[in-house]
């Protein structure tokens, strides 16, 4: 039984996975564009998933034994595979239409302040709505707004942007000893909040910034410092007693603007980092640099991004040009 594998097909691509795997994880084993997007599911957080509904897929054949299709679209992050299951993701128009609806629902109360938001450029909701959303909203009412709450000097909470994925709650629950924040109220009024505005001061609480798929929880020390796509991510590590110490440093020139954990292709952190690494070590001397972080060609961060530290200069050394520049500089000095 232990070695038994289930044969399933996703969009016509066969794959063999262990029993108990979810459809989403099976799709991730194949990889590529057939992987359903996920806003709330986070592989390293137990119990996450099933909330945002962006990963809906169609099961056109339940299993070998019971080939009836599932009556409704199912959330692939929560549905486990059966032997002989046939799943349709991007090959089914139903799924694409449902996803469009989900994106519209997610955006109903989202303030769309991307020009101001620090997450813009690495925001999953931005990617998702760009891929699946419609250009206009049909929502004619006022967007839900919350009074801004101060939750400490390291993390900034923008409740208006929250899509209630619960990832940060799971982080607080599973990575730290005591969880002091959670989701209060219900339905349209539901909001993430710290209970009686207690400061979050656990050593690993900074990870809520990394897990947040939108800009609801952002790094306060990075707030408005620079746009994500103007900073250059570099992988680095240090000997940290509390965490793995493997991070991504976001450089602008010589300056480290912020430190985040390393994210994989699904924007998930496998090794969470501690707050000392995240907020306390912002000098190059604190870190051992490895290489520039690989960035997907589709990402906006890829603009002006090099795969090596010192790319060959575009302009070759030209003594005549250098002399002319010196002359120009001398002239500038004289006329100042």
């Amino acid at each position: 039984m232990a070695d038994e594998k289930f044969k399933i097909t996703i969009d016509g691509i066969p794959v063999e996975v262990a029993p108990g795997t979810t459809i989403l994880n099976a799709a991730r084993q194949i990889g590529g564009e057939i992987v359903p997007p996920a806003m709330c599911y986070y592989s390293s957080l137990e119990g996450s998933g099933g909330k945002c509904r962006t990963c809906l897929v169609k099961v056109s054949k339940g299993s070998e034994r019971d080939p009836r299709p599932m009556p409704k679209l199912v959330a692939s992050c929560r549905t486990t595979v059966m032997d002989g299951m046939e799943v349709q993701n991007i090959s089914s128009p139903d799924v694409l239409e449902a996803r469009k609806g989900v994106v519209e629902m997610l955006l109903i109360n989202h303030p769309l302040d991307c020009p101001v938001c620090d997450q813009a450029g690495e925001c999953k909701l931005q990617d998702l709505s760009y891929e699946h959303g419609v250009a206009d909203t049909r929502f004619e009412f006022k967007r839900r707004t919350f009074e801004p709450i101060d939750i400490g000097d390291k993390i900034k909470l923008h409740m208006n942007r929250c899509i209630l994925c619960y990832r940060c709650v799971y982080v607080a629950n599973q990575l730290t000893e005591q969880r002091e924040h959670g989701v209060i109220n219900r339905g349209d009024h539901a909001e993430i909040s710290t209970y009686i505005e207690n400061a979050l001061d656990h050593d690993f609480i900074g990870n809520v910034i990394d897990v947040c798929p939108v800009g609801a929880l952002t790094d306060k020390t990075f707030r408005f410092k620079n746009r994500v796509w103007f900073s250059k991510p570099v992988d680095g590590h240090r000997d940290c007693p509390t965490c793995s110490g493997k991070v991504t440093l976001w450089y602008k020139g010589e300056e480290v603007l912020r430190v985040t954990a390393r994210k994989d292709e699904y924007n998930e952190v496998k090794e969470f980092i501690c707050d000392t690494c995240r907020f306390g070590k912002k000098k190059t001397a604190d870190w051992v640099l490895e290489e520039p972080t690989p960035i997907s060609k589709q990402s906006v961060i890829n603009s002006n991004h090099y795969d090596v530290f010192n790319p060959p200069p575009v302009i070759k050394e030209n003594p005549r040009l250098q002399e002319a520049n010196e002359e120009q500089l001398a002239r500038t000095e004289r006329l100042k």
Partner: protein, 159 residues
């Protein structure tokens, strides 16, 4: 060549005739900058950073203009608006420093296209010549449009 032709008199008279004819023609020369030729409607000149109807700066330093700029002429530094600056800036974040290098700029208008806040338009005059390279880096002092009173604007003049 006969005698008359050797005198060159007919040729001189003919040449003077052409010259004198031009005295009565319409002069095509325009005395720039006092007088300007009509420009095309989609002429792209110097950039201006716009204000909204309450006189607040529209730019929120989102960086999309700088990202879209093919010549990499635009740089900016953002800052957070304080309570006292509510009447100065439209959004929570604003551009504390906004610079365009006019030597780099190719006046393609992509920044205008990219701007989500309708904050930048290339609706100014030509960028004038100057002596030093450093003087071509235009900061906010040169780019932000002057404060205007919307109630006194002639609706026919603005489009």
């Amino acid at each position: 060549m006969n005698f008359w032709e050797r005198m060159y008199l007919p040729a001189i008279a003919k040449g003077l005739g052409i010259t004198i004819r031009h005295f009565f023609k319409k002069i095509p020369t325009v005395k720039y900058p006092e007088e300007q030729r009509p420009y095309s409607k989609n002429f792209r000149g110097l950039h201006s950073l716009k204000r909204d109807e309450e006189g607040r700066e529209r730019c929120t330093a989102c960086g999309l203009c700088a990202l879209s700029c093919p010549a990499e002429a635009i740089t900016m530094i953002a800052a957070e608006r304080t309570k006292e600056e509510m009447h100065l800036y439209r959004e929570e974040k604003y551009a504390a420093v906004y610079e365009i290098n006019m030597l780099r700029c190719i006046f393609c208008g992509l920044c205008e296209e990219a701007c989500p806040k309708e904050a930048i338009y290339l609706d100014g005059p030509h960028v004038t010549a100057d002596y030093l390279r450093k003087d071509f880096i235009y900061g906010k002092d040169k780019l932000v449009e002057p404060v205007f009173d919307i109630t006194k604007l002639n609706p026919e003049k603005t489009n």
